[in-house]
């Protein structure tokens, strides 16, 4: 399993209200949520976003609410992977559960810049910045998490 795309880079504490503002939580439609992804901190995100792009951020990405709508919005917007120095725990769990690959890697999160081309190998945990030529090692996913992601989410993987 791999991902490759251009990076959209953000700072510390990107909260779930920033990822998908609560005013749009009157729907559970994935495509409707995708349209408003990141709009309060980066109103051009959806316009700039190309399918397969990667989101990178610094510490505590996804803090705040338990809304699963946040990783759903990112995934439905076409984000292939999120790399951060650290993740808030409910967001981490939700992302795996819905099949959005996310990697914790402080070195990569710090060094990767906005617009860089990055390739990720989920089997080895290697993150390669194709723009700078640098490589970083994240913890690879254990088998059961790879299964969840490949199945498109936790419930798909158990039924």
């Amino acid at each position: 399993m791999n991902a490759k795309g251009r990076v959209h880079k953000y700072g510390d504490n990107v909260d779930t209200d920033a990822i998908i503002p609560a005013r749009y939580l009157n729907t559970a439609s994935h495509s409707e949520l995708a349209v408003h992804c990141m709009e309060d901190i980066d109103k051009d995100f959806v316009r700039k976003m190309r399918t397969g792009d990667i989101v990178a951020a610094e510490k505590n990405f996804g803090c705040g609410s338990s809304r699963e709508h946040a990783p759903i919005a990112l995934k439905a917007a076409g984000v292939s992977c999120v790399i951060a120095a650290s993740f808030a725990r409910i967001f981490y769990r939700n992302s795996i559960n819905i099949g959005l690959p996310i990697l914790e890697c402080p070195q990569a999160a710090e060094a990767i810049g906005n617009g860089d081309e990055v390739a990720v190998d989920f089997d080895t945990g290697i993150i390669e910045n194709l723009t700078s030529g640098k490589r970083y090692q994240a913890q690879p996913f254990p088998e059961f998490i790879k299964n969840i992601i490949a199945s498109g989410g936790l419930l798909n993987s158990i039924v």
């Binding site: 309060d40 338990s66 759903i72 936790l154 419930l155 158990i158």
Partner: protein, 425 residues
């Protein structure tokens, strides 16, 4: 092996003698909670994978509290979907408008959660029930769906930070000031993946409502859960309410903690969190004078009866400042009724405040107090992220009910002591 209080509850629910930090376990659940925003996503998942039966009709609570009374057609559809699911599966603890309230005030009040329980809820503030000595944590909708199907959830056993409370609070200082102070000290990721275990002789001086406010915002420090020891006050609160068996777990003397944080309750002052993170704390003295457009008194953090009494005590015989909208929201129907019976409702209305039916509404910019660009609200809620309460260029300042009420009267950030006659009505 020595265990923290949280670890003991998790071990018991996993059927294990002992557990240690980092261990993956599967635990039996005493309660699975969802609301009108998170339940529809869970119901879709539940039905998509062909599930036909919930694990228990008693141990699931569905509460319509966020965008209710329905704020728009889409919100109405989400409530309808949740209502129909509750009826189809004979969910005993389904709460609709008229008997509902904000879930984290409602569940303890109805006795649905209690000491020693293991609870998940598809709402991040599910950590509130740690005030009762339960292990309780927020999860997403998929975990809620899996919980409704199986009655179980997997957890990574957390390590813990020990928060030692000393002495007792001064007048006009409350549980909210304690938790804001703590988040200011350790940061919004200061307890990431960990438990916050509150202990020390200062615990006894805190009311249950103070403890609910503190445990409620454990998530705002990134914590998995916040938890209080079970004492006489807890038992008194649970008497005539909680229907389960009281299970009192005590942390081992030699349990391992990654860090110890001491808080001298007597030294705390009224505290606020400035935009746009709960960790941006200042004392009210440092932040005093910032003008406000709105004051919200309510939420799962501070919509309980003692919060209403504190606000009414300050608003009695006074008026909300011209140009300020003050909105008071009792968290449950029971609290609303007590506000009427105790004469608090009259005080609020006479002061020029709007008194709302129970709802989470304004806290998350849903309805009942959404902010326009450039506006600033003081609020007894729990988050002040960019756009949390409305326009991305609006601001939220978090505070206790005492500070929100005093600020509403003066039109700027202030403590009760700053009122012309002090905090005395």
């Amino acid at each position: 092996m020595a265990m923290t209080m949280t670890q003991k509850i998790l071990a018991a629910h996993a059927g294990l003698e002992d557990v240690e930090a980092g261990q993956l376990i599967e635990a039996k659940l005493d309660m699975v909670l969802g609301n009108d925003i998170t339940s529809p996503v869970a119901i879709n998942e539940f039905e998509k994978c062909g599930a036909t039966k919930v694990f228990s009709t008693e141990k699931i609570a569905l509460v319509l509290d966020h965008f209710t009374p329905n704020k728009d057609i889409k919100a109405a559809e989400q409530c309808k979907q949740t209502r129909e699911f509750a009826h189809k599966h004979s969910i005993r603890n389904f709460y609709d408008v008229g008997e509902a309230g904000i879930e984290h005030a409602l569940l303890p009040e109805k006795g649905l959660v209690g000491p020693g329980d293991c609870i998940i809820g598809a709402d991040s503030h599910t950590c509130t029930y740690g005030a009762l000595g339960a292990f309780s944590t927020g999860v997403g909708s998929t975990d809620m769906a899996a919980g409704m199907m199986s009655g179980k959830a997997w957890f990574k056993v957390p390590s813990a930070i020990k928060v030692v409370l000393k002495n007792s609070l001064q007048e006009d200082v409350s549980g909210k000031d304690v938790i804001l102070h703590l988040i200011g000290r350790i940061g919004v990721d200061g307890a990431l993946y960990q438990s916050l275990e509150f202990t020390g002789e200062g615990v006894a001086s805190l009311t249950m409502d103070d403890r609910f406010s503190i445990a409620n915002m454990a998530i705002e420090a990134g914590a998995k859960n916040g938890i209080f020891p079970v004492d006489e006050q807890t038992l008194e609160y649970c008497r005539d309410r909680y229907r389960g068996e009281i299970r009192r777990y005590v942390a081992d003397e030699d349990a391992e903690y990654s860090r110890v944080v001491e808080i001298d309750l007597a030294a705390l002052e009224p505290t606020v969190s400035l935009p746009h993170l709960p960790e941006n704390t200042k004392t009210v003295r440092e932040a005093a004078g910032l003008p406000i457009d709105q004051s919200i008194i309510g939420s799962c953090t501070n919509g309980r009866i003692s919060d209403m009494r504190i606000a009414a005590h300050i608003l009695k015989g006074r008026k909300v400042a011209p140009g300020v909208r003050c909105i008071v929201i009792p968290a449950t129907q029971q609290i609303y009724l007590e506000c009427i019976r105790e004469g608090l409702a009259e005080i609020f209305v006479e002061a020029g405040a709007a008194l709302s039916t129970p709802t989470c509404g304004p806290c998350l910019g849903g309805h009942m107090g959404v902010l326009a660009s450039g506006e600033r609200s003081i609020s007894t809620t729990n988050r002040n992220f960019v756009g949390r309460m409305g326009h991305p260029e609006s601001e939220v300042i978090l505070s206790s009910p005492a500070v929100a009420a005093a600020s509403a009267v003066l039109g700027y950030i202030a403590a009760p002591a700053d009122l012309p006659e002090g905090g005395k009505a």
